[in-house]
């Protein structure tokens, strides 16, 4: 069995020895701007779109020049009138051009392709800050900077179904590692959002003190998912997911990076099709390239299917970015070769402001209607002076 053994990083089965404190109930923290202060719990409001338009404006100042030839133009009109008419034309032309640009761009950025159709949006039976449709956070963990966002997809918004992705990130018990996890609850299963939420919490509580390997670690998480979702097993399909019938199941991708922000080895492991990408020297690398489609396009998932565990180590250091994501976002990255991926090489070369990060992930593109979750890590302390 291949083991994810790092220099000093050893995985230990069981969540009982984890970092103490966090409630078993999902707690969604939303802070409008990243910073060293503790995040505000529950009361923040996240907007999926930027606030007031940042569309540039054009101001044309017409300054009358020195009078020549008696101050009249060729039509015999005073030069200041002709200048005013010309200036007004320029203003109108500018407004026209900007108006055209506004219609073809989204939030001031060029669209990635055909835009989706407008849709009615239904809440999933209500709104609750512990199970939001949008979750956003950012800040520092030791010497590592984090951005995290999860957005309910258009399909779920249209059907009034909950966000079925989840993320979690925390320091290991010994403070040496940042453990990050992203899970994508399978839409074909009942209450998949619970499986995803439990999986990421259990994953980030794994204690890194022994060496049983990734397989045992995922088995431990699977056990947690199985116990926590036992009450949903055997239930008939209800309001959530008209086509859902199988017991709760979820993908899970875990990333572990050194918390000290220095050069080292990072490790990733995954069950299912939630991608991990590494930005290094301006190039994206897909850590787990697709291995062909399974029959019926069914991905492997916890808690029942531990057979297709994939793991990989990467060299990690300042300037690198590691992102874990659900396929609702990962597919748009095209393995690192898409227009979006190239755009993000620049905008994610350092941690973006939270609002920009949300906008980057909340792109509008026809047929991309799944939930989107991205958890991004940068080595180093970047959020030391945030307004």
């Amino acid at each position: 069995m291949i083991r994810a053994t790092l220099a000093g990083l050893l995985l230990f089965i069981g969540t009982g020895q984890a970092v103490p404190g966090p409630s078993p109930v999902p707690s969604v923290m939303v802070s409008p701007t990243p910073g060293p202060r503790p995040p505000i719990v529950g009361t923040g409001q996240v907007r999926a779109k930027p606030g007031p338009s940042s569309e540039p404006t054009v101001t044309v100042t017409v300054t009358p020049g020195p009078r020549q030839g008696g101050g009249t133009g060729v039509l015999g009109w005073p030069m200041w009138i002709l200048s005013g008419l010309a200036g007004g034309g320029v203003v109108l032309l500018g407004q026209l051009l900007l108006g055209r640009r506004a219609r073809t761009s989204v939030g001031g950025r060029a669209p990635l392709g055909p835009l989706p159709q407008p849709l009615p949006v239904l809440l999933a039976g209500g709104a609750d800050s512990r199970a939001p449709g949008v979750a956003l956070d950012g800040g520092m963990l030791a010497q590592t900077t984090v951005r995290a966002v999860s957005i309910r997809g258009r399909r779920h918004r249209y059907r009034g179904e909950p966000l079925q992705d989840a993320y979690a990130v925390r320091l290991s018990a010994d403070g040496r590692w940042v453990i990050a996890a992203v899970a994508d609850g399978l839409g074909s299963t009942l209450h998949a959002e619970h499986a995803a939420a439990v999986a990421v919490r259990a994953a980030t509580k794994l204690s890194l003190t022994s060496d049983p390997g990734w397989h045992a670690a995922f088995a431990s998480v699977a056990g947690e998912v199985m116990r926590a979702t036992a009450r949903f097993r055997g239930q008939p399909a209800g309001r959530h997911g008209a086509g859902a019938s199988d017991p709760p199941a979820t993908t899970l991708t875990i990333g572990v990076v050194p918390a000290d922000g220095r050069r080292g080895v990072a490790a990733c492991a995954a069950i299912g099709d939630s991608p991990a990408l590494w930005l290094h020297d301006g190039m994206w690398t897909e850590i787990f390239p697709p291995e062909g489609q399974r029959p019926g396009n069914v991905t492997s998932a916890l808690p029942d299917d531990l057979g297709e565990l994939r793991e990989r180590q990467i060299d990690w250091g300042p300037g690198d970015v590691l992102i874990l994501c659900s396929d609702g976002f990962g597919t748009a990255m095209g393995g690192g070769g898409s227009t979006l991926a190239q755009r993000l090489v620049t905008s994610w070369s350092s941690p973006p402001a939270l609002r920009s990060f949300l906008r980057d992930v909340d792109f509008q593109l026809s047929t991309y209607d799944d939930d989107r979750t991205v958890l991004a890590l940068w080595a180093g302390r970047h959020d030391t002076a945030v307004l």
Binding site: R155, P290, S338, L340
Partner: protein, 233 residues
């Protein structure tokens, strides 16, 4: 690298309708002819896709082709959400398989070139609906004549799935020769003799709609068999 390239997905579906003489011969009992039923079904199918799941309406691209002695592209490949009006089918005379397969090759190749510039194009699906054996002039059209054209269609890249949906006098071996297979199953379905044409055609329309929705939602070709029809082996 993922095949998607980060582009929107496009699932092309071609509904190919036989509009030859046998489809629109008036019935003695005054009930609608298969042609009339099929005409209504195609319109309803597109309306259902447009009004249904928006994800399906955006990702599915649907074309309608009619054939008899002539081939007509009734509705060029269009997303249901963009389909404003579906032109009516026009009745024809004979049943020329060679002409329709030749034309489908041209249509699908052209559509693929166009779609590929903007979309991540998935394998096309051709729903081939017919009620009779190929017949041109005074003779049955032999498979030696139309078979190679069908093979060129099936050999396009990406390779289309051809679902043969037959009723009336069409022979099972003809349907098998037209169809391709998916995961080891031949995509050929025959209407039971006891089932009326109208019932079969409504079943076909429902199966086409279900297949389109399921393929988009599961991100891979999922083809449902129509109720009232038997899958051939």
């Amino acid at each position: 690298m993922r095949s998607a390239n980060g582009r929107p997905r496009a699932f092309p579906f071609y509904i190919v309708c036989d509009v030859s003489h046998s489809m629109h011969t008036a019935r003695e009992d005054g009930r609608p002819t298969p042609f009339e039923v099929l005409s209504n079904c195609v319109g309803e199918l597109l309306f259902e896709l447009e009004a249904g799941d928006p994800g399906v309406s955006e990702a599915a691209h649907v074309a309608v082709v009619s054939f008899s002695d002539k081939v007509e592209l009734v509705l060029p490949l269009t997303r249901p959400c963009d389909a404003i009006r579906v032109p009516a089918l026009r009745p024809g005379r004979q049943t020329d398989y060679l002409a329709v397969f030749r034309e489908l090759v041209k249509i699908i190749e052209k559509d693929n070139r166009k779609l590929s510039k903007q979309f991540d194009v998935r394998a096309p699906v051709v729903f081939f609906i017919t009620d009779g054996e190929p017949y041109v002039g005074e003779h049955h059209q032999d498979v030696k004549i139309w078979g190679p054209a069908r093979d060129r269609l099936a050999g396009l890249e990406p390779a289309p799935y051809i679902v043969a949906l037959g009723f009336g006098t069409v022979r099972e071996e003809t349907l098998r020769r037209v169809a391709t297979s998916l995961r080891g199953e031949v995509l050929a379905f025959a209407g039971e003799i006891a089932t009326g044409a109208a019932t079969v055609l409504h079943g076909i329309a429902q199966a086409v709609s279900d297949s389109i929705s399921a393929s988009v939602n599961r991100n891979t070709a999922v083809l449902r068999g129509p109720g009232g029809m038997r899958q051939l082996r």
